[in-house]
Amino acid sequence: MGQLNYSTLRPFSPNKSGLPRLIGTGPLNGKIEGRDFQYQPSDAPSLWKNGGNLVDYTADEMLYNVNNLGFRGNKIVKDESILMSAGCSHTYGIGVRENEVWGRQLADKLDMYHINTGVGGIGPDTVSLLTKQFFEEGVVPDILAVLWPNVSRKMVVLDQQKPIDDQVVDYIIQPGKNPVSIHQYSVHLPTSDTEQNQYHYHSAVKGIQLQSEQQRLLEFWVYRELVITLCQKHNVKLIEGFVYDDSLAYVKERCRNKIPRTELFSYPDYARDNMHFGRKSHKKLAEQFKELL
């Protein structure tokens, strides 16, 4: 699921500094030319829903271009007027062209430099950690636009090779040197048989499956508060988008921080994979974010 290289993400990274990276390309990426490639997991012919959206896109299109760290779009810089977009695959822009991605469109509208930290498959916990690490490394935008992923997604600490107790003790004694195995798990999404087998034995996964929605929302609260605090500390303008009604309802009802927010619950169209937002949805989202500013 997750395409983040967790061994580059603090606190799991053995390094005390440095930016996070995404994992490299593989067979699912189709044709690869330098940092351009054809497909992404979920936007690959074998995974397309109903044969994919081949009206707005062609199967041959090299939709994706990534920077040296593997994030989509522009290279990471520090000295521009930056709009940073954060979130999951909807933010990465699975199944749409680079100039159609909502973050890129928003940055263009604002005449700002776009940094896209969206990563497919991640949850609010990883969004929070990524944001923290970028800020710690001095990549501090003027505006941070977060499109919050589903709260049912969670990082799970797994390691098949060791008993759980050993794994945790190793982690406590020498974090980084004995990295734990991190997986992104989503309660609501189907997983492949291989993944099911891998997860099946883990009490942690069973625990996550049993967690109530309310419990997950409370954890989301912690991750979101950290992002809010980081933005306040670094004087970054924070705007938020929601595509899931449970987290939006929770924030509406509970949060008194008055962070500008927008929502998109119905999509006018779909991307090449027939699952993610299409270009019209991205455009709509960019416009809605712009209105917040």
């Binding site: 945790v168 309660v187 049993l210 109530s212």
Partner: protein, 350 residues
């Protein structure tokens, strides 16, 4: 478990004008029936600004009874909630209580709390500049020792600051964060903060079935602010043998793997919030594992096999003096509180 009134903190409370409090606060002052059985709290004397209480649940004749009932299957639990419990039974339980009376007696009224149920001076917004806030659990609250023996009280006196001890017996690390955020949101801004982290195996859980995955999905749950306030939300120490709800079972299954990540995130929240507000933060530990975790995760020089970070209080397991346990025989006694006090002063001066 946790003594915190969850309906008085973020994200559960209705508005920021509600001051965070424990179950020893307004509800105990206004409703003496809270003292369901005289053996829970013993004598309660409500004054204008403070409440004096003889026992706190884990330092009371009732607490050992709970374990005995659990082990023997005896069913006297109805007595625990009988506000008119026969004085004879109360006296018998008090008599049977194997308290550590080396320093304090069963008769001592050990606890003085402010009107919000904190073992602290009255917390006044305008005094924040002269106040130090202490965050933690029962070791910070000072279960089983007298008011003046609590390490926070000694530290505040030593440095000439007002003591805002908001240690919460049975509290979780997430309680610590939410409590601090709530005080800040309400406008209580201390000049400095000292946190004594608790065990990450404790977690705030929702025990109600209403929002479980397998139950009907409802609206976002509102914590009821009636007398049953603590039924749905509570702290829980992961243990499958005590997991009598789905939420407890869930946490028991995942705690080993997830608790350090949870703790990492909670700690980051506190570090960054204090940094944003310009509040000096001092961290302390009574748990060996949390102290090593924080030391290592911060990238400090690796410790030797038997070394500990200098912000870990050498408590129960390293002192041999007679008073190192408090009245309940479990929590720190005055000597251990003195160690915590000395550790804190060293850290504040370093």
């Amino acid at each position: 478990m946790s003594s915190l009134r969850y309906d008085t903190i973020k994200p559960f409370r209705k508005n920021k004008d509600i001051t965070p409090q424990t179950g020893f606060g307004e509800c105990m002052r206004s409703n003496p029936a809270t003292n369901k059985c005289p053996a829970w709290h013993g004598l309660i004397e409500v004054g204008k600004y403070y409440t004096d209480i003889q026992y706190i649940p884990s330092d009371s004749p009732v607490f050992p009874k709970l374990n005995i009932f659990a082990q023997t299957g005896e069913d006297e639990t109805q007595n625990l909630y009988d506000e008119n419990m026969d004085q004879e039974i109360t006296d018998k339980w008090i008599d049977e209580w194997d308290a550590n009376e080396e320093q304090y007696s069963k008769n001592d009224v050990l606890y003085r709390v402010n009107k919000h149920g904190w073992r602290a001076d009255n917390i006044v917004k305008s005094q924040g500049e002269n106040a130090v806030m202490f965050l933690g659990d029962s070791f910070t609250f000072g279960v089983a020792v007298a008011n003046d023996d609590v390490w926070c009280s000694k530290v505040a006196t030593k440095i000439g600051k007002i003591n805002w001890n908001v240690g919460n017996p049975g509290g979780t690390n997430q309680d610590i964060i939410l409590l601090f955020e709530s005080f800040i949101e309400s406008g209580y801004i201390p000049s400095q903060v000292v946190v004594m982290w608790t065990s990450p195996v404790r977690k705030i859980l929702f025990n109600g079935k209403k929002f479980n995955n397998f139950a009907e999905k409802g609206n976002v749950h509102d914590i009821d602010d009636n007398i049953d306030w603590n039924d749905e939300v509570s702290g829980f120490i992961a243990d499958l043998s005590f997991a009598d709800t789905v939420s407890k079972r869930a946490w028991s299954l995942m705690a080993d793997n997830q608790m350090w990540f949870d703790f990492y995130m909670q700690r980051q929240s506190l570090l960054h919030l204090c940094a944003r507000l310009g509040i000096k933060l001092t961290e302390m530990h009574y748990k060996r594992d949390t102290s090593i975790f924080c030391h290592n995760i911060d990238g400090k020089t690796p410790l030797g096999k038997h070394e500990f970070p200098n912000n870990r209080v050498e408590g129960n397991d390293s002192l041999t003096t007679p008073n190192h346990y408090g009245r309940d025989g479990t929590h720190w006694g005055s000597d251990s509180h003195n160690e915590a006090y000395k550790t804190c002063i060293k850290l504040l001066n370093s």
